[in-house]
Subunit: 381 residues, 2 copies
């Protein structure tokens, strides 16, 4: 079977490394398998969701120099599922080994700290709530006053799903968390409290070769600061289009490589960016069934410099519902055929833990949402 | 988060076992991972396509009593990717261990032998070409005469992709393969030579609970007796609908459990069944992107007794192209975004070997086919 052979093609000599063994790493690994890309996982336990689905699993700590160096040496390029790694160590080892890490460690560094992330947003004229850095209780009191008596205090580092976030509506409420301000070595930011009409999210990405992509805007719903569901696509208003354009400029200006998750507040009078995450994101899980290409494959294509294409919808409406643990019993389910289950293989079921998610397609976002909500009863998580 | 708990739900205590480590087992394993079903693979080498994508891989022979017994004991239920196993051994061990094997070994036995398969078709009034069993050269000569001087001689067992099949148009051509008839312990069947307009395939299935499903009819194209491409869906003529109905009756009458691949000849004047395979099938690979649910997930749902639902198309046209090796070099590719790559991770590239496949979607089957053919140049297999 003769054919034209493009000279630019090459096979990967070494696997793609993934730092971390959680559900995001698992879903990246599964899509890598589908594309036939060899993957290697670095994580602490062979029970980890990603460790279960790859023969190339390596046991080890993600922030330990020797382990990381060995791991990077064994990979052609490396990515990660969490931005809370030691970015400067990772940057050093990437330089020493010559193995690229995407997204680049300095982008991870900028986004893993809420203060530098806010500075990044300011620098690139991306809208977000007013804020002040806070290092002490005295500064916290001052910030609360300046922000009109209502503020959200967020730990600069290691906050997620509401952990490390305190909404404060009065000086007395602030006094109750006074001890926090002395105990956190990285400090806080105090952000203006934003009453929002709804929360929105969008996945964007840029490939190694400079091509950018944006997935549809979606509405997200959080319960107890944890994502419960996502529905979409949203009708693209001019405000959303303008923001999308700014995000594209941002990706280009920073030279970011990989997929990025963006969380927004729709205040009813405008859009404010709440958070950037330099990785695949829970709010993009709908793409596994709602688009012709999913965020995990896109992330792999982006870091490999492959064509990202256009994200075509597979239905007029889609929805994603997180399956959160509500007991410590072994979860079980009856799988109905009108939803798509993505289960993470976690051995311990714990209340609030993300055990899996379900996706549904329908003729409108609301119909798809109704379907996943209805199907929740088929799961005893 | 309180919800109704259905009492019929249960989690799998032990993994689903897959006998075999090739691409079919790999794709079943990947879909099992997606659904969070624990899987265990039994195969000869850790390099096998399926062994690469599962932590639960066991090294061993598929036809060795002790290995099989241990493997079945460690699984909740077992399936396979090839019908060419020792069906009676498997049946014995399933009974001894109490671990169900789906499709059932006696269905495997009936279909792994071309003579018993033909008898099965006759018994269930499914149309297929006239045939005679052949055990010697003398019987082969007689059969050739009875079949009008043109016949296809097929080894009763272990034939695939044209191996073990001889098309004979004259007594002198038969004489050239005379030695074959003495050397094959299982014998042959002599089948009427069928000049066909095109080849057609369809996947059908039946769940443990008795629910049946049929995927769209597709056209398949073979080159050198090996599947090169598939396109679909075919327009459903009354002849196809009638056949579909007969196939459903066949599944119900036999109580078959799992997905089954069916290859047909469209002679222009009617449909004849060429072959049944009690497993997922190359002609169903399009379903990974062309349907809302793929044959691998359906097979798992069928053997677990889950709801099979309805196979909704994701586009008006789809096509699948096998990526066949054409040299022994390491394969490589540039991955374009308008096709879906499914690569099997095989280490040795050999001419004609199935290394992976690509799927495309379009507004017609022919457009999708044109797209995968065009994209072949992106692969240096």
């Amino acid at each position: 079977m003769p054919r034209n052979v493009s000279r630019s093609k090459k096979a990967l000599a070494k696997p793609i490394g993934i730092l971390g063994g959680g559900q995001l790493a698992r879903m990246i690994a599964l899509k890598a398998h589908e594309m036939g890309l060899p993957v290697r996982i670095l994580s602490e336990s062979s029970d980890d969701p990603a460790a279960q689905v790859a023969s190339g699993w390596v046991k080890g700590s993600l922030n330990e120099r020797k382990t990381l160096k060995q791991f990077l040496n064994s990979c052609s390029l490396v990515t990660f599922e969490s931005e809370f790694l030691d970015a400067s160590l990772l940057s050093d080892i990437a330089r020493e080994t010559g193995t690229p890490v995407y997204p680049r460690p300095h982008d991870m560094a900028a986004m893993q700290d809420r203060l530098t992330q806010k500075s990044l947003l300011l620098k690139h004229k991306l809208p977000s709530a007013n804020f002040f850095p806070v290092k002490s209780y005295a500064e916290a009191q001052k910030a609360l006053t300046k922000l009109g008596g209502r503020a959200v205090f967020k730990k600069r580092r290691f906050g997620y799903d509401g952990y490390g976030t305190f909404v404060v509506h009065s000086p007395s409420a602030l006094a109750k968390i006074e001890a926090e301000f002395g105990s956190n070595i990285y400090g806080f930011i105090a952000e203006q409290f934003v009453p929002f009409r709804r929360e929105i999210a969008v996945m964007v990405g840029r490939s190694q070769k400079g091509q950018t992509i944006r997935l549809p805007f979606v509405e997200t719903y959080q319960e107890n600061s944890r994502c419960l569901w996502v529905k979409g696509p949203l009708r693209e208003t001019s405000a959303l289009k303008t923001l999308a354009h700014k995000l594209e400029l941002f990706l280009k200006a920073t030279g970011y490589v990989g997929i990025m998750g963006i969380e927004l507040f729709d205040t009813g009078r405008g859009l404010l960016i709440n958070e950037l995450a330099p990785r695949v994101h829970n709010s993009g899980h709908y793409s596994l069934n709602g688009l012709c290409v999913d965020q995990f494959s896109l992330h792999l294509k982006a870091i490999l410099g492959q064509d990202l294409g256009k994200p075509v919808l597979t239905a007029k409406g889609f929805a994603m519902l997180n399956l959160l643990g509500h007991s410590s019993r072994k979860p079980s389910w009856d799988l109905p055929s009108d939803i798509h289950l993505h289960w993470y293989g976690k051995h311990d079921n714990r209340p609030g833990r993300k055990m899996g998610h379900i996706n549904a397609l329908a003729t409108t976002p609301d119909e798809a949402l109704a379907l996943v909500k209805k199907r929740l009863r088929n799961f005893d998580v």
